[in-house]
């Protein structure tokens, strides 16, 4: 079954400037993801997984190439978009799950999940938040603050929030990196099955081969610079 691609990435590149030195993190990368399909991104530490996800979220600017995301009524092109429209894209059309610190500490669990609906003035989705949390087994924690939740529970809340708007694209950067095997499986299951059911494209960066194996497609990034110039950044076990 071939579906039209929702996310199209063509020959993109990204480099960082460190003083006078230029670090090419991503060079000439192309791939595409269809709606409802999942892509796992693997590679050694410093290979640019997070950088790629941040580009997709519009948090970083492209240096070369272009990416497009199919929305309901139009196609969003990253190259021509300014910061404002990229912020708006993130707000309305992208869900994001980090490895940790996914929740605003000063909002309750329910408020955290409802937040995207509030930000987009989609009040009708607010009721959905409690249902979603119920499905994820968190119905008795709705009014607690995140600091009282376990790591696995926090990640489930983060997934619920990323799913609330049923965005065309969900990005997850090592969402299970912090969890034990059991919780890790639970969260990964939730992510993959929900995305598939709701026709959401999922791009997931991970160090775990097990989690990577659950995706429809795999993308492996290689280190393109000698390792000693890379920063050791939050290595997962």
């Amino acid at each position: 079954m071939t579906r039209p691609s929702a996310l199209d990435v063509k020959n993109i590149s990204k480099h960082y400037q460190d003083g006078s030195r230029q670090i090419d993190v991503i060079r000439d990368l192309s791939f595409s993801v269809a709606a409802g399909e999942s892509l796992s991104v693997t590679g050694p530490s410093g290979s640019g997984k997070s950088t790629l996800l941040n580009l997709l979220a519009g948090l970083l600017e492209l240096d070369g190439g272009d990416m497009t995301l199919a929305l309901k009524d139009k196609t969003f092109s990253y190259r021509t978009a300014d910061e404002r429209s990229r912020t708006a894209l993130r707000r309305q059309h992208i869900g994001y799950v980090y490895q940790f610190f996914n929740l605003v500490p000063t909002l309750t669990v329910l408020e955290n999940v409802r937040l995207p609906a509030r930000l987009n003035q989609q009040r009708e989705l607010e009721r959905h938040a409690a249902t979603l949390l119920g499905e994820f087994g968190l119905s008795d924690r709705l009014h607690d603050f995140p600091e009282t939740l376990s790591g696995g529970e926090q990640q489930r809340v983060a997934v619920a929030r990323a799913l609330l708007l049923k965005p065309p694209l969900l990005l997850a950067d090592e969402p299970t990196g912090n969890l034990d095997a059991e919780n890790s499986n639970h969260v990964a299951d939730l992510l993959f099955s929900s995305c598939r059911e709701q026709n959401i494209s999922l791009v997931l960066a991970t160090h775990s081969t097990e989690v990577a194996g659950m995706a429809d497609t795999r993308l492996h990034l290689d280190t393109q610079l000698p390792l000693d110039t890379r920063s050791q950044d939050r290595q997962s076990p």
């Binding site: 941040n54 948090l59 404002r84 912020t87 708006a88 610190f101 000063t106 909002l107």
Partner: protein
């Protein structure tokens, strides 16, 4: 290596580094400027007492004092009956006219002690018949001048015998006896005065009970020179406010030290993992913060000096200002900055390494202090210092309630409704007591002071303008030219011009040894009503100003003997701004006859429908008269009133500014230290306008917490200022008015300061993103 790592780190975060420097320098600026302003006023006040008399702490007065009285006293002293006295000497002090000049002649026993204090010899040959004079009399007199002394304008100092000659007195006549009484605290108060100018005025002058023969009156320097004392009291108020500014500045400096540490902590943590000793790291930390403190102190000294000259120029325009950065103020500035930094920094370092257990000791201590403070409020003999001690203790207690208050508010935080982003902002303000409570304490102290002073000033203004309404019943006041004024004393009415003419005569007298002003006029019902007394004043009736009643400890109905005449106190009136206690009697009273020779016409008041025409006519007839219209007097009086409080306003503004910077630094530290979810919100697509809104909400939250504490505290401050400080400092009471406008104004400024601290997040980008990689 370590130093290099630190330097590189600091260079990479220039904004935060500059903020620390600026914050600390502002703290020092406020310390320095307040000190300089106070010191300048203080030296001007000291000039009111001639240097030759400055060593005496008390004076003994007696009716028709002569040398026999003095020698009897001396005999008693030599016999050891007056152990409290360490020195005593006879003095002559009388104002007379010499060669057309009004001169205050001081006569002292120069055989026993030559005039040393600040005296500059100018004559080739010293002459016992000569005198020492202040600069203004240098070339005005024909008698030989031995030297120049530091003294108020028109002062002459001579040997007691020469003084007798100049005054034409009997050789055994004396004015009073100067005393030095031993005081155990004098030394320490003098040192404290150097560090906090005006401090000494806070303590009631000790009046030891001397076993004296009947007829002697013991008077302290403060009572002898009420004008100086009045000034010193104002000075003490400024100095106490300055102490508050100092406290807020210290809190800021401490805050800077803590946030400095928090910034460096990740670097230290890593270095420690690499095997660097904590001790060495602490030394590096203390060195770096000490360096910043020294730089800030130097910067603050310069800006403080500049601010002080500007302040004084504004408060006392047209007067020569010379401020000197003496070693005391440098010591105070550098000492404050470096000591608070190092001690606070070392403490913070210690706390970062290990949790400190909580004890209930501070709470118990505060409770004891509160009890002591309450006692001070109700015991007038504790003086101004007692009143300000109460304010200090209240501040301490209030700042201790911040952390528990935040903890409680955090528990209720989930009940905050409204926009989610606003919820985030406001809750953030409540979420981190450890980081924010010090800065919030500073802010609420500053707001409370603003409230207290605003309430006092507004209440005072109401009372003051009420007094003006009563007093200003005439349309025109004439002063100056005494001969012209005297002509009015003999006419009752210039029918064509004025409906009423009122002549005022006055003189300085001593009542129970205290120097007072006696005013004599036709006290009919109209005139009496100006002093809040509704009938015409009886011939044996007397009206007392609040200051006079307080210093004589008398009230309405009591009897009072003035210059040998027995009078009855008929009423009391408020006389804000009067330096001397004032007495008023009717011109039909026997006192008026008894004192006729020394009474001088001081002023004449006119009531008229057309004051402008009257002014023109009087100008023509008596060109030397000073004429002032009622409306002008009112305007000038209120302007002077507002000018008096200009320094107060500036001091409070400085405190608020310093507090706002302190809050800003605390918020930055909190962001550095805690996951506040700001980066996350950015990922969720929260835009800049919304982030600004959240920062405003955060600032509002901080402001609200500060105001919750500051409101009751400020009202208490206001009450103490009106009912404790003012009576003790100036002898008058003010009725506290809880003016909503004053409360609102101060809270608004406090709120704006907090919001500014919330918005000012230029350093955000330096804090390093998390989770984004």
């Amino acid at each position: 290596m370590i130093a290099l790592a630190l330097l590189r780190f600091l260079a990479r975060t220039p904004w935060s580094t500059a903020m620390a420097l600026i914050g600390m320098a502002l703290g020092v600026t406020s310390i320095v400027s307040v000190h300089l302003v106070s010191a300048s006023i203080s030296s001007r006040l000291d000039g009111l007492v001639p240097g030759a008399l400055s060593e005496y702490s008390h004076y003994l007065h007696r009716d028709k004092l002569d040398t026999a009285d003095y020698l009897a006293l001396r005999k008693q002293w030599r016999a050891g009956a007056l152990p409290a006295i360490t020195q005593l000497s006879p003095l002559v002090d009388e104002t007379t006219t010499l060669e057309g000049q009004s001169v205050r002649v001081l006569g002292a026993d120069l055989l026993a002690r030559p005039p040393s204090a600040g005296a500059k010899a100018i004559a080739e040959q010293f002459s016992w018949n000569g005198a020492w004079v202040d600069q203004s009399l240098k070339d005005q007199l024909s008698i030989p001048i031995n030297g120049i002394i530091e003294a108020p304008k028109g002062t002459l100092l001579a040997d007691i015998a020469t003084a007798h000659d100049l005054l034409g007195w009997r050789p055994n006549q004396l004015s009073y006896v100067g005393l030095v009484l031993s005081d155990a605290f004098a030394g320490s108060i003098e040192t404290a005065e150097k560090l906090l100018p005006g401090f000494g005025a806070g303590f009631p002058s000790a009046k030891p009970s001397l076993d004296l023969a009947p007829g002697w009156q013991l008077v302290s320097t403060a009572e002898q020179y009420p004008a100086r004392e009045f000034g010193k009291s104002i000075l003490f108020n400024i100095s106490a406010l300055g102490m508050l500014a100092l406290l807020v500045a210290w809190l800021l400096i401490y805050q800077v030290a803590v946030s400095w540490l928090r910034r460096l902590w990740p670097v230290f943590d890593r270095l420690h993992v690499l095997g660097v000793e904590w001790q060495q790291l602490r030394a590096y930390f203390l060195f770096s913060i000490g360096l910043i403190a020294t730089l800030a102190a130097a910067l603050g000294l310069v800006t403080g000096w500049w601010l002080a000259s500007w302040l004084l120029g504004m408060a006392v325009p047209g007067q020569e200002i010379n401020l000197n950065l003496d070693s005391w103020v440098i010591f105070k500035a550098v000492g404050s900055a470096v000591a608070v930094c190092l001690l606070g920094g070392a403490w913070a370092f210690h706390r970062s390494q290990q949790e400190v257990s909580h004890s209930s000791l501070p709470a118990i201590l505060t409770l004891l202090l509160l009890i002591a403070a309450t006692w001070c409020v109700f015991q007038p003999q504790t003086g101004l210092a007692g009143g300000f001690f109460a304010i200090a203790v209240l501040s301490l207690a209030a700042s201790q309630t911040i952390a528990p208050l935040l903890t409680r508010l955090k528990r209720w935080a989930s009940m905050i409704r409204g926009s989610y982003l606003l919820r985030v902002g406001v809750r953030e303000a409540l979420w981190h007591p450890a980081e924010l409570s010090v800065a919030l304490a500073g802010l609420s102290l500053a707001i409370a002071t603003a409230i207290g002073v605003a309430l006092m000033v507004d209440s005072f203004r109401v009372d003051f303008s009420q007094m003006l309404d009563h007093r200003l019943k005439y349309d025109l006041i004439a002063q100056g030219d005494k001969t012209a004024l005297k002509t009015f004393a003999n006419i009752n009415k210039t029918a064509t011009l004025a409906d009423r003419i009122q002549v005022y005569r006055n003189t300085d007298i001593r009542v129970n040894g205290l120097s007072m002003e006696l005013d004599i006029s036709r006290m009919d019902a109209f005139e009496s009503s100006r002093y809040g007394y509704s009938r015409s004043l009886a011939s044996n009736g007397i009206l007392l100003s609040e200051q006079a009643a307080r210093s004589l400890q008398l009230s309405v109905g009591d009897a009072l003997t003035v210059a040998g005449e027995k009078m009855t106190i008929s009423g009391m009136f408020s006389a804000f701004g009067d330096l001397k206690p004032k007495l008023i009697v009717n011109d039909r009273s026997p006192l008026a006859d008894a004192l006729a020779a020394q009474l001088q016409v001081d002023s004449v008041a006119f009531k008229s429908d057309r004051p402008e025409i009257l002014v023109a006519a009087l100008r023509k007839q008596f060109p030397a008269l000073e004429l002032r219209l009622q409306s002008d007097i009112r305007r000038v009086a209120l302007k002077t009133f507002d000018q008096t409080f200009a320094i107060t306003t500036v001091l409070i503004t400085i405190a608020l500014l310093v507090a706002a910077i302190s809050v800003y630094i605390a918020v930055t530290t909190m962001r550095l230290n805690r996951q506040t979810g700001r980066q996350l919100l950015n990922t969720l697509g929260v835009n800049r306008t919304e982030q600004l809104m959240m920062n405003i909400a955060l600032g509002t939250g901080l402001g609200l917490v500060a105001i919750i504490i500051a409101l009751p505290l400020g009202v208490m401050f206001g009450w103490i200022l009106c009912n404790v400080i003012n009576p003790r400092a100036f002898g008058w009471t003010i009725e506290l008015q809880l003016s909503a406008e004053a409360l609102l104004r101060s809270c608004t400024w406090g709120m704006l300061a907090a919001i500014a601290a919330g918005i000012l997040q230029g350093g955000d980008h330096e804090e390093g993103a998390f989770g984004g990689r």
